[in-house]
Symmetry: C3
């Protein structure tokens, strides 16, 4: 590699063959060098059982190649042709409403031996036909693994029981793990266990729900692993990845990285508008986690991203968002999509080419992007992101949160804390896993790490004792791996390190109701004067050795500690209570830590500019994207060479709205 | 005819026979001359299979006749007796929750051969017993065809496949029409197609959903046609109609008019309160469409309408609403209902007679209505409504809008534009179909006519070229008959005529979120100073030859065109973007057109007065209903003779709140 | 007895046996003398079919006894062990989504012969093993009978049909009762009747729904009666009760009292915060109804109650709430719960012992409570509550209200009127049934008594004629026992007594919409200047002999009567229209009646103090609980002896926030 891959999705199966060449030529005109094809084309490859025909796709791939456009090829198991469903209805699963009818996409039963066999066959045929094609550079597996996160059918029930049997060995072990002595849910046999669908009252046991989620992740990764193994036989050193809907919101991407080469994700984070820029930190979080998933390679794929702007945005938002991809380590951004389907459910997505075949409004910035990435990206390809701050993400802790929904409590907090610290520190951030090494960081944030291994706990303890700053909340260290409570009060295992304990709580909603009319603001007031709203539960704390860095502003909690800091060994533990409802909450914490511990920014950029750096061959590149529409001006506090404009920077710098500064540190 | 039919629904099967005479006598006392009976009485006619007994109904009909009250008789297929369901559960269909249980009403499976056979038999028996009865004047089929708009059972699945086979001939044709190459939904056989019930992800193909809706309309009209054919053998020249829940919100009434004599609908438009009168334009729209459906007869039935007022209304609202019926062409208004059932699900509807048997509060205005219609209606029976303005309604375009719900986007816009233009112009309006002749109008509005035939397009083009004013929105002319997009940008086929194109869009919701705090009003400002809110998407336009007549007031769209007008040939095309959320939006457009093109009112009535006219025997009658509770005074700009009060009008006229002016133009 | 039972729930089956003794010792340390165990332990007793083992529970009971703690033992039929479900899936029922899967709790099919047989066996075994245990004082049946209020399976359908056959005898009688001549729902056979699950349109017949609710109550009480009969063989004179989720919100507790000894309920009424105290009147209502259910014994059980306070409450709220229990007649308050389960669905309830085994924050007030109740409760054990005011509760009228939900219209009104009158009068209140004697009261409130027997009506009429004050609303006396309307206008049977009739209505929601922007307040203005909001429908009244005591403030109803009073015989009838949405509404009525009829308080306590009295051995004890957090001071208008502090009261008394005055009248 070395080159940045910029391009779009394209579905040759939708269009008459004579259209393809026009489209590839137009892509080349824009400067595109990659196209993503094939992930929903099973019916095209195998219109009737066993009648394989990859010739059209081969022609499409080669035609793209003729225009200098490489292909990212998708396996096709996120769909299922009608003939297969008709012959074996068990190839689709079901949800709480019952078995799926044929229609739409996804919902294939990943516990069905029959489905798996047909998936194996089509993937093998596809790999055999296309695997060695020189115009193909990499493979994407399936599509957006995860949603709808359930498969409630008989095959999955059976599979789940077998998986549980393998995991627990004895039913007694499972009963202990799930605490089934409650309400006489004590099983005598694995065959008594049912999928969590229609309970009369009281809901499902958290242990069962968490294990079901683990099972669902297991079967999805089993499919992806099978496809990987098939592909490896045919594709040589081409890379394999998949396009997670979010690297947090899916099955376990961490498990999948045992066999994948890169992580990829679909960046549907809203592009900035006016001077509102904070959404972009959501994509930074996903990028940082994707970079971690790619196991030291320092780069990843953005497999889908919008290429259009709304009527209320200024030119530049697509380019700015793409430079943010690049700044955190993307080596490919594939826009979705080239042209709208004329029928089917997915009409109306923003496209690069209008329905009439002409370029849409954003083409000048796409062309500029392609041009400047072609010229400059090689400088940072294979570069590393060096960070002294990390946030810790845990799939299983996320799954353990009721709801399992996007932006649910766990992930919302993770979004907010990651973005809040990045914005406060103006620094690189890593997103890492509980099993990772903490010792190289100055600051580690591990919100809602309800359960963690003894080893992780010990390493976090050592991290703090040796001088690190650990940020937790009161939920951390309060549960075991089965999602059962530990016999401790919050923050459980961390109580001594935090120097504070939870005495009692009240939900923010109840507090708001009870203080309505009192004039109280339902907020947390930080020591530096900033204010933000808590979310979930507010906690009354008993401080043993900690000191407050923020207090509540309402009711009986007025002036009582809401966020604390505690000296422990050579380090510090910050605890916030209990969660927050905005990124700004964590920016305030970041500002306090920045000032107290002198955490220096990569560059003294003004508000709204997202700054990251990449290091390669001993050179450090600073990428600063102005995510606001208004220009900013500042005098850099470090000497810089402006790579895009090819000149040393002296005195003031202005970054126009949605513009980027790509500079080398001198 | 010649007489106006005023009366109510009545269910003799609910009451002991000795009660009937008291009720009919009381109806006669009010001046009623019609009663609507029998549409839910299957169990009464056939309490056990094959045991028919129409004697009680015959006695009821004749007893009514004795009091001068004619009967509108209903066929009874909107219900199903328990014995039939018990014997053949397939006679009821199902919804997304599964098969229906017995209870309530409707839900009969119109694809079930068994149901159709029993429906045929009971209708034939009923027609044989009652068809020639001299006290019966007309027949209503079934009840409120349409809701719940789905029948998800095996018979309908099978029927749908057969219907598709007949429509498309080959599965390849269907695949092309539905764009099934997307997501590998390519069918090899019609038997692979399933009803759109429980999809895993991504939703159902628009082509499938639209065709399912067409199929549902087809089977409902097949039933109605069968009943019509049976009735015709027995009823002589008595009329046949059915009571649509709305003439827009149902199956295709246009198709049904191939065999029906009149359209009918259930006018549950809220009666006016205080000075709020705009709801009444909704009933004007329904009336105008019903009049069109009655194929040149110029009249129709209001089959259900409330006869009561709430505790917050003044006397007169029921009479005013009925005169609005009459003004657009109703020849019958049947109130719902005479007396409340003592049990069952439909308790608590407003009734003419209280539970204690005494008249409810509105009886004086009902009596007055009956009296004045008896005296004056004959002057306009069989009259024509002459209009130079028309709105175009398309069932299939309505169905193609996701949701298919009452007041969904398509129908909401149609309501608003029809009402807005009528109120702005103070003129008669026609509601017509895409296949109708446009050449006789000055103004035609065709909002959301996403797909249309080549012939319709050509005739609209000619209409404008010849001098007409066409009002469209950006969605018009953008799709084909399968609900697939045309490869054109909005407004598609109309781009040249409109002189403008859509460059980009933003939803009103997103705009409101993005401009919150900016002080911007989310509105459209018209050239005449009026303001109104857009709905759905806001569009950035590129004007080729058009000029703006309204601009946006917010964000990046501020001062940019929102509504345009374009000279084309001898005529003009007005395009609004993209939809609106109120009638007032279209009143503003109407005012601008009125002033620019000198569109004259029927009569210079003040705000709140709904004016229409009817022409018969060379005489033109003006009907002006004050739909406000406050009186209005004005000096007519044309010479009039007040028919109700029997005097020529000179100088000022006052129309009291909720009162009516029924005048002849001199 | 004589002793007050204070303690908590405890689940020995959750914990290792060595933990038990620590827990019982800690309970004893707090002064607890009762523990509630065993109601979900079926799997513990019978881990595999027929393998009974009660030894562990016997050990737990005896160990508790060793610490002076008596046991309330639960039967275990609210759960079902997995082996039983696996063997006979019919032991669980279903809901509108289909059959229940195994998981959670409840949902057992009470129409299943198999379930009933297994329930009989386990109860018999449990009673045999534990019935004579001297450490057990009483038995609780099942758990929170009622929710989910439906069982939609084949056994229940069959059982329902049989129950209907037994009730109605002939299908014609049922048809008349349900008014099935509407919509041809006329049944020929009981086997044609289906459970009200999935109707196509129009909904279910109210008669069917009400009878289904009666059937559900019947089968639940049949189970409880069976368990009672088994227990009686083994337990001697120990008492039997069950813990209703609310004594109003359940199956018919009135029917159950044919065989139970006491009523019990789970008091999850929110504890007071700041100076908001009105929720506590909800618990007074439940208490008063529970006391009535206990058939003259004058006491009842609070089987679950929170023992914790939130972070926004001051100490004392748990103690205050418990004294409110005692003041209305509780002889036991069992807190829920001792310690949180470590797993399972019910984590996070407030507990007495923290997860770390230490007492939670409220232990000082619990210890104080235990101490003072031990010292003083015997004075009022077996005492009577003497009241001259009563509210009338009817299960069947509650069930007849669509929705059958907690706090639905019927129960909401009952809550509000009971609490409003208690707060206005500062008096004892009884909650009674329609079959009870009214003659001993001065004031009887019977809101929403839509149907009532002739006998009840006659006795209410006599009550008024003899001088009583009856409070009704316009819905009273308007229906028959099948929930069918009477042929009368509202208030039906009561029209003459009320001296007023309903002419027309408007919903509060419609009124608010119609008067938006008018400046009108949507309220009712009382003669004494108080104001409150109506709910549901507002009624225009025609007064025959009544006079208004409140008028509306809005729209056409402005200044028109909203609440009336009418002299009838020697008494008065107050009618409010139609319902209210707050307790304050009824406080206003209470204040007017108090002033007009000189209804004297038990004690002249200030606002926020809940006062009740108990009479025993000729002594009258006053219990006044300050449910606000701020202290109140007043000079009693009667001579009192302060029992808690052991001194006669002279001059001013101060009751601190959340404190209690337990005094004897001198």
């Amino acid at each position: 590699m070395g080159e940045f891959y910029i391009g779009s999705s394209y579905y040759p199966e939708w269009w008459p063959e004579e259209q393809w060449e026009k489209d590839f030529a137009k892509m080349a005109e824009l400067g595109f060098n990659v196209v993503r094809m094939g992930e929903f084309a099973w019916s095209w490859y195998e219109p009737r059982e066993g009648e394989y025909n990859f010739e059209p796709m081969i022609r499409a791939v080669n035609l793209a190649g003729k225009y200098g456009i490489k292909t990212i090829m998708g396996t096709t198991t996120a769909v299922c042709p009608p003939w297969l469903y008709k012959k074996y209805p068990e190839v689709k699963g079901g949800n709480e409403r019952g078995d799926y009818d044929f229609g739409g996409r996804k919902g294939n039963c990943l516990s069905s031996e029959i489905f798996l066999e047909y998936a194996r066959k089509i993937t093998e045929e596809q790999a055999r036909a296309l695997g060695g094609n020189p115009n193909i550079i990499g493979w994407q597996l399936d599509n957006e693994p995860g949603f709808p996160f359930v498969c409630y059918d008989d095959r999955c029930e059976k599979g789940f029981r077998e998986w549980l049997r393998a995991k627990y060995g004895t039913i007694d072990a499972l009963n202990r793990a799930w605490f089934t002595m409650m309400w006489s849910n004590v099983y005598n046999d694995f065959d008594e266990i049912m999928l969590p669908v229609n309970a009369a009252e009281g809901g499902w046991f958290p242990g069962l729900r968490l294990d079901y989620r683990r099972y669902f992740s297991f079967i999805f990764n089993r499919l992806l692993r099978m496809e990987t193994e098939i592909l490896r036989k045919y594709i040589g050193d081409r890379f394999i990845f998949t396009n997670y809907p979010g690297v947090n919101w899916s099955v376990s991407c961490q498990d999948a990285m045992e066999f994948l080469d890169y992580a990829g994700w679909d960046n549907y984070v809203p592009t900035p508008y006016n001077d509102y820029y904070r959404y972009q930190f959501h994509s930074c979080m996903e990028h940082d986690l994707a970079r971690r998933l790619s196991k030291g390679k320092g780069k990843f794929v953005v497999a889908e991203q919008t290429a259009v702007a709304s009527a209320n945005q200024l030119p530049g938002v697509v380019r700015a968002q793409t430079w943010i991809d690049v700044a955190q380590g993307a080596f490919a951004t594939v826009f979705f999509e080239w042209r709208s389907p004329l029928g089917g459910p997915e009409q109306g997505y923003g496209t690069i080419v209008e329905l009439n075949g002409e370029f849409a409004e954003t083409w000048p910035e796409l062309a500029r992007l392609a041009r400047e990435l072609k010229e400059h990206y090689h400088k940072i390809d294979g570069a590393q992101t060096v960070s002294e701050i990390a946030t810790v993400y845990s799939y299983e802790n996320s799954w353990a949160t009721p709801g399992w929904v996007v932006d649910g409590a766990y992930d919302q907090d993770f979004f907010n804390i990651h973005g809040g610290l990045k914005n406060a520190f103006r620094q690189n951030l890593d997103a890492i896993f509980p099993t990772d090494d903490f010792s190289k960081y100055r600051v580690v944030a591990a919100p809602n790490l309800k359960f963690l291994s003894e080893d992780t706990f010990n390493r976090l303890e050592k991290f703090v004792a040796d001088g690190g700053i650990l940020i937790i909340n009161a939920e951390c260290g309060t549960r075991d791996e089965f999602n059962n409570l530990l016999p401790m009060i919050r923050p459980g295992l961390f109580a001594k390190m935090a120097g504070a304990e939870v005495v009692s709580t009240i939900s923010v909603a109840d507090m708001a109701k009870q203080q309505a009319g009192s004039g109280d603001e339902i907020a947390v007031l930080f020591a530096n004067g900033e204010k933000a709203r808590p979310a979930g539960m507010m906690c009354k704390l008993r401080l043993t050795t900690a000191e407050p860095i923020a207090v509540y502003t309402c009711g009986k909690l007025k002036d009582m500690p809401a966020v604390t800091i505690n000296r422990y060994g050579k380090g510090h533990v910050v605890m916030f209570c209990s969660t927050a409802d905005s990124q700004e909450y964590f920016e305030a914490i970041g500002h306090i830590l920045r000032d107290r511990f002198d955490i220096r920014p990569l560059l003294n950029v003004p508000d709204g500019v997202i700054v990251s750096s990449r290091v390669k061959d001993g050179k450090e590149y600073i990428l600063a994207v102005n995510a606001k529409e208004s220009a900013v001006t500042f005098t850099p506090d470090i000497p810089l060479y402006d790579e895009l404009n090819g000149r040393e920077i002296t005195g003031e710098v202005t970054i126009e709205g949605y513009d980027v500064l790509f500079a080398r540190k001198l």
